[in-house]
């Protein structure tokens, strides 16, 4: 897991190691970290099958959700995950808070830090915002999406979903289709899938496939036909709100859908389809694909809860997995 390097950095000295761990980018994780988190998530999934779903694992701990962007899935699942673990949860949204009055992120973080939260979960429209919170508070920071940079818990829940549904990740071929340029989900997923030994191909119109992306270990293709080879087709949302006016990333949505929309005709039987949501039905994904029985889209949302429980728990405990899992089962 990541240690945010201090703002003041000396290239001539090794970076100072901070004790606090954060989850800011998939790039900071090792394969062992991911395996530990997935196995923890599986343990939590079993515990949720019981009648009483609440575990006392994080009793007395405080989790603050700080959301500067609208979110349904991520904010609700972090909140429920913390509650299932008996933590005290406080959710702050930018509208209706001091942010409306022009307070800076740093000042808001200092204010929240005064309550000594154990974890701050932050969703923010700008790259680098979790780093500001990590510098301004003593909390562990979880990045719930920072601009177009990273959304690590989304990638972890996607790994979990694939692992559960396809019985493993290593050796699978995953095609990630659409607006890769503006997608933090794509970036986190490419890194996570490559880390776990999957083959990844990103597919889309040239302006939306960032120059240099292949350095992450993926292949690139501008032809939608490529997705036929994949075991999993991961469809990205067209992020129209992030596109600058006049940038001409796509000449029109009609053109995009005609060339790169994921339709039943472009898939072969047995392929599993994923989408991080929210979907633009009829744009990047045909409604028939979204609603098909073997689509994993709803399954992704379910995975979100246990994976986020695992992340919160792991950040505050990070002991050897087996021992901790045993403890959970006992208290449950």
């Amino acid at each position: 897991m990541a240690e945010v390097r201090p703002l003041i950095r000396d290239e001539l000295l090794p970076p100072r190691r901070l004790e606090r761990r954060h989850l800011i980018s998939i790039a900071d994780l090792t394969r062992e970290d991911v395996e530990r988190l997935l196995s923890l998530a599986r343990a939590f999934a079993r515990s949720l099958e019981r009648e009483v779903k609440k575990l006392p694992a994080l009793k007395g701990r405080t989790v603050v959700n700080l959301f500067y962007e609208s979110s349904t899935r991520t904010s609700s699942s972090f909140e429920l995950a913390a509650k299932r673990l008996s933590a005290d949860v406080m959710s702050i949204k930018s509208s209706g808070s001091a942010v409306d009055k022009g307070e800076s992120l740093k000042d808001t973080a200092i204010t929240i830090g005064a309550y000594d939260p154990d974890i701050v979960v932050i969703r923010h429209p700008h790259i680098g915002s979790p780093h500001v919170v990590a510098r301004a508070t003593k909390a562990h920071v979880v990045n719930a999406g920072d601009g177009t940079h990273q959304h690590p818990t989304q990638a972890l829940l996607d790994l979990y979903t694939i692992d559960e549904e396809l019985g493993g990740i290593e050796g699978l071929h995953v095609a990630i289709v659409g607006d890769v340029l503006h997608s933090r989900v794509a970036r986190s997923n490419i890194q996570a899938l490559v880390l776990m030994g999957a083959r990844v191909t990103v597919v889309g119109p040239p302006p939306l496939i960032p120059r240099g992306i292949a350095a992450l270990g993926c292949e690139t293709s501008y032809s939608i036909d490529t997705i036929r080879d994949a075991d999993v087709v991961y469809v990205l949302r067209m992020q129209r709100e992030r596109m600058l006016e006049g940038a001409n990333y796509v000449p029109s949505l009609r053109e995009y859908t005609a060339r790169w929309g994921v339709t039943p005709a472009r898939l072969r039987p047995g392929q599993r389809v994923m989408h991080p949501g929210p979907m633009n039905r009829g744009v990047e994904i045909d409604p028939a694909v979204a609603d098909a029985a073997d689509a994993l889209i709803e399954r992704q949302v379910r995975s979100g809860l246990v994976v986020r429980m695992a992340v919160l728990y792991d950040l505050l405990t990070h002991g050897p997995v087996e021992v901790k899992v045993a403890e959970i089962e006992e208290v449950a």
Binding site: P6, L7, D10, G128, V132, T148, G212, L244
Partner: protein, 426 residues
Amino acid sequence: MLFGGNGRKDDLVLDGIRVVDPTQGIDEVLTITVEQGVITRLEPGSSPANGKVVAPAFVDPHVHLRTPGREDEEDIGSGTRAAAAGGYCAILAMPNTDPVVDSAAILGALVERAEVEAEVPVGFLAAISKGQEGGELTEMVELAERGAAGFTDDGRPVASPGLLLRALQYHEVAGRRIAVHCEEPGLSRAGQMHEGVVSAELGFGGYPSVAESVMVGRDLALAAYEEQPIHLLHLSARESVDELRRARGADVHATGEVTPHHLCLTDEAIRTLDPNLKMNPPLRAEEHRQALIEGLKDGTIAAIATDHAPHAAHEKDVPFEEAPFGVTGLETAFAVVYTRLVQPGVVPLETVLERMSAGPARIYGLEPPRIAVGAPANLVVLDLETTWCVAREEFRSRSANSWLLGATLKGRVVQTVADGKVVFGA
């Protein structure tokens, strides 16, 4: 063209010290005597071998003094004290202030303040266009008469080729260098960092090197057509260096400058998302850095310029994506270039000393500092053995947005003499 920093003229003797002056072809142990601010004697001396070197003091052709308008970030006094600590005997300030330096009245007020507040002589560039808005030409001749050291819309490109053509035509009459910030806005867009592997990984919309080099190409073509000189500010891209080298080979009167950070860092550093690494033009990939070093060594790039750009702490301590562009550099320029480029043997000391002093002076038609009998004393004493740590509290600049905070550097300015006055050190 330079204002302030006058007054006292000191007497001093630098006894038995290694003197390096590339303009005079000197590298020997001498005793320098300065009387009434003028070098009066250069005599053979014996070196105590203490790692100290005296050289012509530095000239920084690219400083943002934030005055008028943002004196909370820097003013003429603090900026020139920072310059003195960095070994500079003259600096040139950019006109992208609030208000913009685009009239003789605003320039005149600055000159008056400089006469009182400046610790080392300072020159002021004026804007090419009114308000730096790229529309109407400023009254360049009047500004030159009032003492403008040159003309630039730095911070922004001159987007209209027609406007730059007119400015070059007026150079014939105004006689002060036109300096251009080369950035094609249609290509840089809202770019936060160099477009490449690192921007792809971090998710930034890229600011490609071609956004700079197409503008370099255009501006050099205009200068060639008008047969007027042009200076290219803070080059960052390999293609730009290639264009400049080709134009100079074709006898275009063109010069270029490079910053210490573009010489020492690449876009890999942005992985830390430290807002003190955000600048325009952005840090680029290693091949670009190598090309800049090559250009500096072969003389294609005539000057090392700090592009010292102070920012208030609260404006920089924000997410990288929200942070303003710019880093400070006056007080660390020599030490970081010495540590990262001279010590490892990448660039000779003489080259660095020339590109930090006579090189930039010549671009703007200033008298190059030199160590010769009869010359005004513009001297910097460097201790090449000292190791020091860059600390926020020690900055004389009013801002501390340095990418080197906490860094350990070798080589330090221990004394600066500017126009005959000891302005830094004992």
